[in-house]
Symmetry: D2
Subunit: 280 residues, 4 copies
Amino acid sequence: MFSNLSAGALGLSLDHPTAVDLAVKHGFGGVDPDLAHFASLGGDAAIAEHAAAVREKGLAWGIAGLPVPLDGPAEAFRTALVELPATLALARAAGVDRMGTWVRPMHEDLDHRQNWRLHLSRLSIVAELLADAGIRLGLEYIGPKTFWSTERFPFIHGIREARELIAESGASNVGLILDSYHWYTAGESADDLAGLTDADIVSVDINDARSDRERDEQQDLDRRLPYATGVIDLEGFADAIAAAGYTGPVKVEPFMKELAEKPVDDVLADVSERIGRFTV
Amino acid sequence: MFSNLSAGALGLSLDHPTAVDLAVKHGFGGVDPDLAHFASLGGDAAIAEHAAAVREKGLAWGIAGLPVPLDGPAEAFRTALVELPATLALARAAGVDRMGTWVRPMHEDLDHRQNWRLHLSRLSIVAELLADAGIRLGLEYIGPKTFWSTERFPFIHGIREARELIAESGASNVGLILDSYHWYTAGESADDLAGLTDADIVSVDINDARSDRERDEQQDLDRRLPYATGVIDLEGFADAIAAAGYTGPVKVEPFMKELAEKPVDDVLADVSERIGRFTV
Amino acid sequence: MFSNLSAGALGLSLDHPTAVDLAVKHGFGGVDPDLAHFASLGGDAAIAEHAAAVREKGLAWGIAGLPVPLDGPAEAFRTALVELPATLALARAAGVDRMGTWVRPMHEDLDHRQNWRLHLSRLSIVAELLADAGIRLGLEYIGPKTFWSTERFPFIHGIREARELIAESGASNVGLILDSYHWYTAGESADDLAGLTDADIVSVDINDARSDRERDEQQDLDRRLPYATGVIDLEGFADAIAAAGYTGPVKVEPFMKELAEKPVDDVLADVSERIGRFTV
Amino acid sequence: MFSNLSAGALGLSLDHPTAVDLAVKHGFGGVDPDLAHFASLGGDAAIAEHAAAVREKGLAWGIAGLPVPLDGPAEAFRTALVELPATLALARAAGVDRMGTWVRPMHEDLDHRQNWRLHLSRLSIVAELLADAGIRLGLEYIGPKTFWSTERFPFIHGIREARELIAESGASNVGLILDSYHWYTAGESADDLAGLTDADIVSVDINDARSDRERDEQQDLDRRLPYATGVIDLEGFADAIAAAGYTGPVKVEPFMKELAEKPVDDVLADVSERIGRFTV
């Protein structure tokens, strides 16, 4: 696995060239791709040249966002499918091979079984289209009870259900986005990660949690930097990820607005060091 | 449909002969069977004689409890199956043709899909055994959020999921126990009852809710007598039940301990009158 | 229900205006829409004018083919979705409100459960897009064993499975295309049609079967005109369709090449008379 | 893995003591347990003594038959559950830890989905009861098309569906009985066995097929001894089983009546040698 600079996940507004430079400067092993930036480069050749230059700097690509909603009206899904090939073409041109999205852990109207069929139907189609483009899809489940319990029908909010959805999709290019924060808030342990292989994991997020809240009171958007409080057993999480032979990106996504107000070099030096503790 | 005296549901300790007499006295159309009492009568002939006498008084049988757990360890289920024929024989001897149970709306360990398969497996077997004995099975879903949100994995807590479980069981002798309290706390309306027929409903409970609490704050064991507060739209509920052509028992299950402290005749006169408003 | 002239189903090559005229001449109550012809008319206004003229002649629209594959590669499905709105617009402009397709009853590679999830995923999306356009979707199951047993993995080949797929789709605008030939070859009886309503049936085909073959030896593409041999219980089929309160089109689809070689007026007079025996 | 003498699978009528002696004589590594014989020994102590003596001779236990039907009426299932503890007690006393059964690959009345739910429901309960007794359950799928295509509704007839059923059961003590004959007739290859571990396999059968029949014409009860014709790729099968790290019994089940007419020592010497080619 390698440390990945995801400016968006840190709440930082960095243009892509700056993000690449800062990733190098602070010793990251990868950086998130920026498809909008790629689109501005003026063609596949220019994109490939850019990608080669990034690789030359010792950086691998992290993960791009999936531009297709897994729920919502069929017409929105259809429209996203119309536009998907153009996005996939940008990704292919740059050699990006991971995309990810998350699963909304509840629904105001669709019960668990209806929502399952909805997600399964969308996921199967999208996964096959991504497979055609040589891209893996990561699916992130959401753990906090303060999130999944807010509507009438809770949905997938743990690793077991996420893995079952992926298995039913029949797609071999779909895996998990594992976030220590969701793993912790879902009440899961290293046992729940046993048996995973590199093929089952598309991306890893590491975060810590506030120490002044019970697990079921933790908020999705109020986290701490990894190793900040020790609430989350990042050692156990790291051991399990390593045991899986994971080779992909590791990033931090703390949802701490104050990071944007600090000197960016300070933030990135700190984040890089924290991910370094995890990936060794 | 007919008003049914269920002493247990009212929190009253009445022996069976007394319950029968009071049901007649207060104009109920039926009374819950008491299988333990039947067992004490000394054989099928005596049970049949008793049942005939009850019928003679103008009373139909309400609904008996299902003596089989739909969740829990397989060994507990197996043991219940060993003992089930004796219970079914008592019911048959008396002409009882309805049994019911409820579905626990959450689980601390099994996720929605695992719990679904567990319930489906148990339900299918039990339903067929009851069908062999000419008995219908009623399944009650539980609506209050203060109940289903208390463990890691919420489960069936609305009519749609309950109906889907019944349909998947493939059993034609399984239907719903519809309780206005669950219907209300589940956020359902008359639309959710549209299309039901008498075959889909095994028993009906009518209750009202406290007026000083929001829907999502209502407690399962703290209800009000029907028409007490007007929080629950019992008119809409009654219209839908009537539109289904429902022919079975209607009872009250308010979980109000104070009822046991009042003169029983006062309580039953009041309850009978309230159900009478519903069944007309 | 009304008799419907479907030239394609009869193996006749009739241009749309001719089909309309012949439908009138031979007393049909409807005619299949021809979306390609509509597209040639030069705009929604012209299409609406044409549709009004057809209606004026006393004809209702039958059913159009669904231009989306329910199986096959995701990219083919995606492409079909890109093009679907244009087709739906033609249908809407003409007031066509029924589209249909059939389910391939076996697969060389996908087992029953994989194929189920594939069909469910595609069906859910397509059904919602059609619902947005005010169009109902009919699904035809295929009965002959000589068809479903030809590959490694048989799939839906009876009404029960077809209805379950439709129910799981969660779509209220999807129903069955009921063909007496599939009903017969599937070994089904009037009991299997009990409880159906008009909302469950989108189109009806009536055909008879060869009298010199056992049921399991019947070929999908070698049928007989309705009432030709009496092998199929068309009276029982008709009674069940009538009991459902069906209001839609009834057509004949005999796959008899010799029809194309006979005088078209002779063929249509005969077919119209045969459907007339059914729809009375 | 070890070679296992299963007299029943060879069509030989050997009493248990004789089977044990012959297993030793011909160099088998194990022998099938005979629960009826154990029951005749007069108590757990005697059974344990017998089992110790068999172990002392260098023999491990093969696999016992599961005395519970996975389909059929609920009452037959219930009765089997009533009697199951006694059988499990015999197995435990002897240290038997594998039981097995096969899945009927078609049904005259239940379609694939109904039959799936039936099997899943029975399997889940039985698996948990066996797990309580420390016993693993093997499930054998049936491959020949001449078998699964004989009724209206084909069911599980390949490894993928068998594995999915096992996964849905949620039981960690259920695995496959892999028979090279079913693997071959199901059109499967070594790829279909990739990724299996010892935990996924409860027993292995090796057989060959007639060389004068096409795969889809092979009959379930007309097989050949392993390596007899070379029709089945037993080398590829053996490599895949070895790659899984399989540690359990390997037996032969050729359904060749002529074996019972030959000198038993000749038959067993031959069978032992053939299994020996597989297990090296």
